[in-house]
Amino acid sequence: MRTFAYERPVSLADAVALLDSHGPSTRLLAGGTDLIIRLRDGSARPGMVIDVKRIPELCPEIRERDGVLTIGATTVMADLAANGLVRRHFEALAEAASVVGSVQIRNRATIAGNICNASPAADTAPPLLVYGAVVVAAGPHGSRRIPISEFFVRSGLTSLEPNELVVAIELPVPASLTGAVHLRRTRRRGHDLASVTLCCSVNEAGVTRLAYGSVGPKPVLEQDETHVLANPSAPDDAKQVVLERMFAEASPSKRSMRASPEYRMAMLRLLGSRAMRTAIERLAEKRGAQA
């Protein structure tokens, strides 16, 4: 490992100041599950590593206020997956968090790290897209709120400025009953990088939201305004047409050794219809429980 400066600011202002003065040569360290590997294999060679775990505003915390769930940037996957509020309102996010890496990884890997790493295969990306998350970022000019759908640019790149960092993720608690599920394809059942990730939600109003990843440079969000997908009496053919349109953005890499484009597309379609079914079932269960 090459030498680098290490800073551990204890205030957000100090962190932003460090970022502002050292900019592109810095790397932020939260859980370290992506960064440490890159430091060791030499693919990241920062001049300075800024450890954000002591910054109070980024602390691992999940709280609900006024219909918004706020997740501190350094909240780890294991806590996200186990949290009662997340499991109640955002079950697909809990599912996604529970399949990131292994137990050890989930005890370290943070939500902010997962999205800032901007891997097209990031497990939490599809549910965050489906649930309409907002990324709260801080920079030299204060904080700004970025809709998650505008956050991912391409593999490894987000819309954050070099002098900005993620403070928290906000999730609006769905106003109507929602059934959702997160599915993924891996080469084995044990921990693995996904070759397709997909999240689907259906709400009482008949709106279906579908997000998928690992089949292009960034995760994609689609919404079925036609209400066809959620309609139990709509014919399968009609549903297929809508699903196909939603998958138009998928462009899996030909170079990947994890799965061929053909297989990825087939699995995307398969996961899409399986997820639709499960989301509708879950919505029905919730209705039943309420009745």
Partner: protein, 759 residues
């Protein structure tokens, strides 16, 4: 006396250290002034080395040595267990991706790494071959310099050697049905959790070398020759390896590290990364064409097997793997006519080497699958066809070898019972059953020393490497049994050629039998001394005394061994020393250089469910039954069989190297080379043994620990075949591969039909 531990499951000797992190591996050895080394490699497989500039690397603070081919004796010393074809470091040309062209040793690993990065190599990539087809092309570049094998007519080809095993007359054999197919087996790697690690240090006008190696004495011989030192001046220390599986049998970078240590005048340590172990050891990929003849009643009429093994750039032990792995290719059956033709094909890839199963799983995969195909054509149940052909005890199933040495029908029937063969299957499920056989050691030489100390405790000196298979425990159990000592009062000393007597090797599942017998003989020698003592003490003729399993029997009474030892040694105390030797000489006329000491025979049966949407295979139940003669330690036997079975599921379901066009392994590392995790295990896994105490080892034991890997692929693919109706002949059975096969099949109607398993 203590109760016998033979057949029970006493705790593993050294087990706590192994699971708690206390065990000292080569990477943990503390030595004053040790330099840490890193290798310099090129970014392609085959390249002409034009120049190497080490000046910048030498300037890195902490770097003490940068060594290239130019710093080594000329001509470059070469070594290898079969052929002396491997240079200590690449000279003029690299032949596979990852072959070192320089080594940098420094005060710290970071400095060594920085130094290695700053060694500038000018090189030119050369045409290379990475597949069987490319290597066999008449215009293919030659991997090996023909001058390395001057009298060999194959020297101008990439075929290193051809192996023929024949009996009966294939051309004259009558067959009603002939089934011919081609099967492929991928390149897989050992993935020992401890990566290979080496230290060399100048020592006593010679050299001391630490290595996580299976064959310390073979390494000693190779180093002595390379360094022109007497054996006594080459001390090999072999701390218990953290997994080896054949990948740590033979010298790899020990010679390089030894030359570096001599040049530096200080100890030098090299610990490979996991990625570098992928580039250091692997199993040979194999393409197997099988033509099987059957008579109408399901008897095997002939087996015609052609197997091409893709070995690497240097021979290592790979050609022996090809010869010995293809040899029992016709299986544990009585087949009147057999023709096996196997070839070792060189390529510009990592040298392939021994790997659990030693070349047998490849041919087994093809031959067992082909027997299933024949059964389908003939409409005979797949268990039944095996029963009709299976060799019975004493049958000369390989005419010039040891006759069938077990009641193998018991093994087959027990596995069938455990998998509930013949019971109706749930939709989407299928079953498969297969037999695997492997020749045990063909030669062997194991010495041991046992010291019975004054207080009745025992020290055993045995040159076996305990790499996790539990050899320490087995030897301790034998001494405990014979000398009446409690297990926790026994020390087993291994892994130091300066202290422990010679052992040929730790491979071919030999140690329980060969070293076990040696320890048993050493104990017998002590028992004889006790007998003499008892005769002296009690004024009785020796012929009236017997000593057996810790008990001294005198006319009319029994004494514990201790009750003779203590007065026998008298005031000065002291000890009794016994030496043991097991020698299995070879036979120059035998195709393998010697008949099998025993056979490892296993039956694996699998029930699988296939998700036709994704191609995912779920192993619902996996049973494995091995004929082990006697299980000296029951739990260890089970763990070995389960471990072998899971390792077999790796190459069956997910493991394979993927190369790019320049011969680099694309899935280099744990992220993209997937091995089974606990999540990937069968929903139910059971292992059992057949024990008739009919083995040549202590208490009737046979060697074991490779058997349960041999036929996993065939059994699993057969289950997939029954579940879906598709036969897949290429491994691994990845979801995508299964999905493609299902798509080519189309529809779902024919799944599971026309299958004898249900009849």
């Amino acid at each position: 006396m203590s109760a016998s531990s033979i057949g029970s499951s006493p705790n593993r000797v050294g087990g706590i250290g192994r699971v708690s992190g206390l065990q000292e591996y080569v990477a943990d050895v503390r030595l004053a002034g040790v330099l840490e080394a890193k290798l310099v490699t090129l970014d392609c497989a085959r390249a002409k080395i034009i120049s190497i500039d080490t000046s910048e690397a030498e300037q890195v603070p902490g770097v003490r040595l940068v060594m290239t081919a130019a710093d080594l004796p000329q001509p470059m010393p070469r070594f290898g267990p079969q052929l002396e074809d491997r240079p200590v470091i690449a000279v003029d040309e690299t032949k596979y991706h990852g072959e070192p062209v320089a080594i940098v040793a420094a005060d710290t690993k970071d400095a060594a790494e920085e130094g290695a990065r700053l060694v500038h190599v000018e090189y030119e990539e050369l045409p290379a071959v990475f597949t069987l087809a490319a290597a066999l092309d008449p215009d293919a570049p030659l991997v090996q310099d023909p001058s390395l094998r001057p009298k060999d007519p194959l020297a101008s080809t990439n075929v290193l050697r051809e192996h023929h095993v024949d009996w009966g007359d294939i051309e004259a054999a009558h067959a009603d049905v002939v089934v011919e197919n081609t099967y492929s087996f991928p390149i897989v790697t050992h993935f020992a959790i401890e990566p290979h690690a080496f230290i060399a240090a100048p020592d006593d006008n010679g050299i001391a070398v630490w290595s996580s190696i299976q064959h310390p004495y073979w390494l000693q011989r190779i180093l002595a020759k390379l360094l022109d030192l007497p054996l006594s001046k080459v001390r090999v220390l072999a701390p218990d390896p953290g997994g080896a599986f054949g990948g740590k049998q033979h010298a790899k970078y020990e010679p390089l590290v030894a030359f570096a240590a001599i040049r530096a005048g200080r100890p030098v340590r090299l610990v490979l990364s996991l990625e570098q172990t992928f580039q250091a050891v692997r199993r040979a990929a194999t393409e197997i064409r099988v033509r099987t003849g059957f008579t109408i009643d399901g008897k095997l009429a002939f087996q015609d097997i052609k197997a091409d093994y893709l070995i690497g750039a240097y021979c290592d032990i790979a050609d022996r793997v090809v010869g010995k792995g293809s040899y029992p290719g016709a299986g544990p059956y009585n087949v009147p006519a057999v023709r096996i033709f196997a070839r070792s094909i060189l390529s510009h890839t990592t040298p392939s080497t021994a790997f659990r199963g030693f070349g047998n799983p490849q041919v087994n995969w093809a031959v067992e699958s082909n027997i299933d195909e024949g059964a389908r054509v003939l409409g005979i149940d797949r268990l039944e066809i095996r029963l009709r052909n299976l060799a019975r005890k004493g049958d000369p199933f390989i005419p010039f070898d040891t006759p069938a040495d077990g009641d193998w029908e018991q093994t087959l029937r027990r596995a069938a019972e455990m998998i509930e063969w013949g019971k109706p299957l749930a939709p989407g499920h299928g079953r498969g059953i297969a037999l695997g056989i492997k020749s045990g050691p063909t030669t062997g030489l194991s010495y041991s020393t046992v010291r019975l100390l004054a207080d009745g405790s025992v020290a055993i000196y045995a040159g076996t490497s305990d790499m996790g298979q539990g050899a320490r425990t087995i030897f301790a159990q034998i001494a405990a049994e014979e000398l009446g000592a409690p297990l926790d009062a026994i020390r087993v000393v291994m892994g130091d050629t300066a202290i422990v007597p010679y052992d040929q090797q730790t491979s071919a599942s030999r140690s329980t039998v060969l070293m076990g017998n040696s320890v048993l003989k050493a104990c017998s020698s002590i028992q004889a001394q006790i007998r003499t003592m008892a005769a002296r003490l009690h004024g009785i003729d020796e012929s009236a005394i017997t000593v057996e399993r810790g008990v001294v029997r005198l006319p009319g009474r029994e004494l514990r061994l201790m009750e003779v030892l203590k007065p026998g040694l008298g005031k000065l105390g002291g000890e009794l020393i016994g030496n043991g030797e097991t020698r299995k000489d070879g036979d120059a006329d035998h195709p393998l250089g010697g008949a099998a000491a025993f056979f490892e025979l296993n039956c694996t049966a699998v029930e699988a469910e296939v998700d036709e949407g994704t191609g995912d295979i779920s192993i619902v139940r996996h049973v494995t039954v091995s004929d082990v003669g006697t299980a000296i330690n029951r739990l260890q036997v089970q763990m070995q069989d389960e471990g072998a079975a899971i390792m077999g599921l790796g190459h069956t379901l997910m493991e394979h190297f993927i190369y790019d066009e320049t011969g680099r392994i694309r899935n280099l590392g744990a992220i993209d080379y997937r091995i089974p995790t606990t999540m990937d295990l069968p929903l139910e896994m059971r292992s059992e043994t057949i024990e008739n105490a009919d083995g040549p080892g202590p208490y009737g034991a046979k060697g074991m620990s490779e058997g349960a890997l041999l036929c996993v692929a065939a059994a699993t693919a057969a289950a997939v075949r029954e579940a879906t109706g598709v036969a897949i002949r290429d491994l691994p059975l990845t979801p995508e591969r299964v999905w493609r096969a299902l798509r080519e099949r189309g529809g779902r109607a024919n799944a599971g039909t026309n299958d004898d398993g249900e009849s």
